[in-house]
């Protein structure tokens, strides 16, 4: 066997392995796609089917109409974009401080920040946080949905690690040329970190997009609710459950995230490539 032949065999084996793994991994999602094209009696058949035998689009229409999904998706988008912008911008600023400056209390402040990875306020401190929103008169506003979540340890941590990998000589050179600290950040560091910023955006977008409990508690009007609430509304237990509509809703709500990921995929993978996440 020549080297080229060996490579071909290798590629074929890998392709087949990957296809199998992908199918197994995506089984729950493939199943949703199948069910989203089925009418209620078709969903429950035995033995279970992988492919739908009809192509019924009514579920998608119903999902959109029964919960005004369009409006909910727009709200989710607004909320997610604000959170992503906040986390990214503040993450860059704080990451820059921790990576490129020596200052008093740096280690302590970093630890103080780091610990918050394990303190999801929207999950375990919902009552005090809610009272804060009342005091700020933020109920039923985008403020409540976004501001408390515009900073996070994860983004700071990732940006800090990335900035640490960029050679210090660049900063020194910039300083000799008379560039200020902010100028160095905006003109040199940020362009160099485009790829990492892309990955921070994707991670935070997924986080914000899947927000559920908090929007449910602080939002008091239909026009301000988010897509995840809509999805839960389709799904609610103890009453009628229509799998076709639920899965159609799931696919619709999942789509924007996958589109975003697909759009920045190259950027994203390269982004982390160069970081090496040095400690």
């Amino acid at each position: 066997m020549t080297k080229k032949q060996r490579r071909t065999v290798q590629v074929v084996v890998k392709e087949v392995t990957l296809i199998i793994i992908t199918i197994v991994m995506l089984l729950p999602i493939l199943l949703s796609i199948t069910m989203s094209f089925e009418t209620p009696p078709e969903v429950f058949t035995y033995p279970p089917r992988i492919f739908p035998n009809t192509f019924y689009l009514g579920n998608y229409v119903n999902a959109f109409n029964s919960i005004k999904l369009g409006r909910l998706l727009i709200n989710s988008l607004i909320m997610s974009v604000i959170i992503v912008v906040g986390k990214t911008v503040f993450g860059i600023l704080a990451g820059y401080a921790f990576a490129n400056f020596k200052f008093k209390g740096s280690a302590f402040l970093f630890a103080l920040l780091f610990v918050t990875i394990f303190m999801p306020a929207d999950m375990i401190m919902i009552v005090p946080l809610y009272k804060l929103m009342v005091n700020f008169h933020w109920l039923n506003t985008y403020w409540a949905l976004t501001v408390p979540f515009t900073a996070s340890a994860t983004s700071v941590f990732l940006m800090r690690q990335y900035f640490l990998t960029i050679p210090k000589e660049l900063e020194d050179a910039a300083r000799i040329d008379g560039a200020s600290s902010m100028r160095y950040l905006t003109r040199i560091l940020i362009p160099l970190s485009k790829t990492m910023i892309g990955s921070v955006i994707v991670i935070n977008f997924v986080y914000a997009w899947n927000f559920y409990l908090w929007p449910l508690v602080v939002i008091n009007s239909n026009s301000m609710q988010t897509a995840q609430i809509g999805l839960q509304m389709l799904m609610i237990t103890g009453a009628t459950r229509n799998w076709g509509i639920i899965t159609a809703g799931t696919i619709i709500v999942l789509a924007p995230v996958l589109i975003l990921f697909f759009a920045v995929q190259n950027l994203f993978v390269q982004g982390i490539v160069t970081t090496g996440l040095k400690e």
Partner: protein
């Protein structure tokens, strides 16, 4: 210039610390005080009880069991999740046709919200009529009761959790793998190292910073965000064997309206996590190799 540079880092940190102080540390502080009270569901009557909530927790077998379950849950989901992710990343770290599509598809489970993931998995693992159950019946001629027996129910929620984390992990591992210079492997080949040797001598050490980052992120998501899937798939059962600490907090808060108990459990959860963070800073970083 020099004087101003001294203040710049504090200015840069100001927005982040303003937000975490107001929206994380302040509520956490309030949460701590709430843990010292027994409060009626609507907060109309409350009674200072000191550490009674904590005492009751430690006296109830349920809480100790949930700590134990959480420990197993985290170790398994983080451990196995990372190993599978790394192997997958190695497989994906090759320029073969369609690799971009594979990467995107394998990322997609991460984008599904935990509650939805739980619903989908519950449907797949549903006894007899579910896809997985059917597959086991025709291939292995057995009928495992995934969601209703111990330890299968725990395994089922672990599978759902690992499934959610893989996409996230793979992307970071992949990136790490691509950053390892090919020359290291070539040099090792000349020295006669085999593939396994290379994996353990070169790949793992050079990936250690990423592994540490992912361990932290995975622990956080396993501890705090897996309750949504548990709630849908098993409701913590059978016999509380899938009740993790966070699910217990969730139940106390949203099902039973015992705010005092929920707060004291949150406090313990945060303290445990803070302790591990301390360990991480003290010892973990020493184990990380530098490129």
């Amino acid at each position: 210039m020099i004087l101003s540079r001294k203040w710049i880092p504090y200015l840069l940190l100001a927005p982040t610390f303003l937000i975490i102080s107001v929206f994380i540390y302040y509520p956490a502080y309030q949460s701590f005080f709430m843990s010292l009270y027994k409060v009626s569901p609507f907060g109309t009557s409350s009674r200072f009880v000191g550490f009674e909530n904590f005492l009751q927790l430690f006296q109830s077998g349920g809480f100790i069991q949930s700590v134990y379950t959480t420990l197993i849950f985290v170790i398994v989901t983080v451990g196995i999740g990372l190993v599978i992710s790394l192997l997958l990343a190695v497989l994906l770290n090759d320029k073969i046709p369609g690799i971009g599509i594979f990467r995107t598809l394998l990322f997609s489970p991460y984008a599904v919200s935990p509650a939805v993931a739980g619903v989908l998995w519950a449907f797949l693992l549903s006894p007899v009529s579910g896809y997985v159950s059917y597959l086991f019946l025709i291939v292995l001629k057995i009928q495992p009761q995934w969601l209703t027996t111990y330890p299968l129910a725990l395994i089922a929620v672990m599978i759902a959790t690992i499934w959610q984390n893989i996409g996230f992990n793979v992307i970071f591992f992949l990136a790490g793998l691509q950053s390892i210079p090919q020359s290291y492997y070539e040099a090792a080949t000349i020295d006669g190292a085999n593939a396994v040797n290379k994996f353990f001598r070169i790949t793992i050490p050079l990936l250690s910073p990423i592994i540490f980052f992912l361990i932290i992120m995975n622990i956080s998501s396993s501890v705090f965000y897996s309750f949504a899937a548990i709630n849908v798939m098993t409701e913590g059962g059978p016999s509380n064997t899938t009740t993790t600490m966070m699910y217990e907090v969730y139940r106390e808060r949203f099902f039973y309206f015992n705010n005092g108990a929920a707060s004291s459990e949150s406090v313990i959860l945060i303290l445990i996590m803070a302790f591990f963070t301390y360990l991480y800073f003290k010892f973990g970083q020493k184990a990380v190799h530098y490129q």
